[in-house]
């Protein structure tokens, strides 16, 4: 196909990419506020490190793995795309008139945030070097294949086996690739790495709720780029995604607060911030594919279910420290599966992808619902199993845990040689 530049689409996607990149520092605040004051810097650094590692890998070969020519439906061939030597006439965005480099940059920001999301499950206790190595392996072995399956012409694409067997699975902006993927990986790592010392017995309440609110606000802002940008065009469907990202999130926040009010007695700021993220997660795969009513139901279900799911870790005894499973895995499943009920192909400026069907409530029967369930389950199993194996391999080689003493006295000082809030009583002893 011949490439003809569309400046409107291109300008929007560059803008959207910048919005999505801001989500990762936003996540650093969201997560950082939730940990104890002695480990806030480490928590924030895990997010920032993801920008470093995934950003580099994406440019060198990650984009090629995800979006290179298809190899067996599983992975792309990166050979011709190393260092982003991309061709505008052979990009998923050629038809939209968006240069290949702009799309590659947009996709980089998705890889970055997905890695960063996992870190919340393993707060306060892991070696920074092991996290860096894990990030590099995970984005290569787990993230890039999933991105390829769904968006890179792999097995969940129009030519894949699921589209032939049932219908084309719908993942508008990353319910499977980003949220189910990060949530399942978080569960695997939480199980491999084990609990924080004192989990369930010592107080580990969030040290800075204003940080959590700030982070949730930045995430919501950036998420408009994530969802409305995923239309890959400045058009009405992008507007549909934008509006759904507003209303589903608004409802999820209200739903989480209401659940808390009845169960615990108060609507909390942490609950509001958590509801915001749960709603954003759930509407992600559906953003451009459901109408406003579908978005409202998705937000409602996500807000209630996620607020209940965050208690599972105490029942089952795994330390998913900041509820990546309860929010991202559960929220991702809610959105991905509810598409099977609410998908409205091509109506009200919604997205139309040839091969996908309307949802059960919109006259499409159960086929799309089954498709969504199969895609979600494959993503859960692949991400969980591969992450578990990577986690075990790193446990046996580099080791995951910092010493118990470092964990108790604070990982910030032990691992990064600095503290967030201890400002007095120091003298300068050497300068280099």
């Amino acid at each position: 196909m011949e490439f003809e530049l569309d400046t409107g689409n291109t300008a929007w996607l560059i803008t959207a990419s910048s919005l999505v990149l801001l989500m990762t520092p936003g996540l650093a605040f969201f997560y950082g506020g939730m940990v104890r004051g002695k480990s806030v810097l480490n928590m924030m650094m895990m997010s920032f490190a993801s920008i470093g590692v995934a950003g580099l890998i994406w440019v060198v070969y990650g984009y090629g793995l995800a979006f290179g020519p298809d190899l067996g439906g599983f992975i792309g061939n990166p050979a011709g795309l190393i260092g982003l030597t991309v061709d505008n006439a052979a990009s998923p965005t050629t038809a939209m008139g968006i240069p290949a480099l702009v799309f590659a940059g947009f996709q980089a920001t998705f890889a970055i945030i997905t890695v960063a999301l996992i870190s919340g499950a393993i707060a306060d206790r892991v070696k920074f070097g092991t996290w860096i190595v894990f990030s590099a392996i995970w984005v290569t072995v787990v993230y890039a294949p999933l991105a390829h399956w769904v968006w890179g012409g792999g097995m969940f694409g129009a030519d894949g086996w699921l589209a032939s067997a049932l219908s084309l699975p719908i993942d508008f902006a990353g319910g499977t690739v980003v949220h189910i993927n990060a949530g399942a990986a978080a569960l695997a790592l939480a199980l491999v790495i084990g609990k924080r010392k004192g989990f369930g017995t010592e107080a580990m309440r969030p040290h800075n709720l204003p940080f959590v609110m700030l982070g949730a606000g930045l995430l919501w802002f950036g998420w408009f780029g994530f969802n409305a940008g995923s239309e890959l065009a400045a058009d009405g469907t992008a507007g549909r995604a934008w509006v759904n990202t507003l209303v589903a999130t608004a409802v999820a926040m209200l739903a989480w607060m209401t659940t808390e009010k009845f169960r615990d007695g108060s609507a909390t700021s942490l609950g509001a911030a958590s509801g915001v993220v749960a709603g954003l997660v759930a509407i992600t795969p559906a953003a451009g594919t459901v109408d406003s009513w579908g978005a409202i139901v998705i937000g409602l279900v996500a807000g209630v279910l996620c607020s209940l799911a965050v208690g599972l870790k105490y029942k089952f005894g795994y330390d998913d420290s900041l509820d990546v499973v309860g929010v991202h895995l559960v929220g991702g499943l809610v959105g991905t599966i509810l598409i099977g009920f609410f998908a409205t192909n091509g109506r009200y400026d919604s997205f139309y992808f040839e091969g996908s069907l309307n949802g059960l409530f919109y006259g499409g029967g159960v086929t799309q619902l089954l498709t969504q369930i199969v895609a979600a389950l494959v993503a859960v199993v692949y991400s969980f199993v591969l992450t578990y194996i990577i986690g075990l391999a790193l446990k046996a080689t580099l080791g995951w845990r910092v010493s118990e003493e470092a964990e108790v006295s604070g990982i910030d000082l032990a691992v990064h040689g600095e503290t967030a809030y201890e400002n007095s009583g120091s003298t300068i002893t050497e300068v280099r």
């Binding site: 107080a203 309440r205 808390e260 607020s307």
Partner: protein, 112 residues
Amino acid sequence: MKLVTGVIQPHRLDDVKTALEGAGVRGMTVSEASGYGRQKGHTEVYRGAEYTVDLVPKVRIEVLVTDEDVTAVTDAIVGAAQTGKIGDGKVWVVPVEDVARVRTGEHGDAAL
């Protein structure tokens, strides 16, 4: 000389300061403190996990006074800090051997 220390509800601080100024006190030290007495703490819930917060925020006021001012100063603090509810705090007095003013090197009552 005596050291009068009051641990009070943080929201009573302004009234206590005004009352102390009215009693002729010209200086004091105020610091944030936390603790509990008979009121114990309260509970907070974070994502369904309930925490009992047994140390609650208080303000500590310290005033150095001459022996004859002790009663007036103590009464001023108690009068201004009192709300009648559990958790209002305590005021206590201990003897002080000596006080020195750093700027001038004066000792004793002259340094107050």
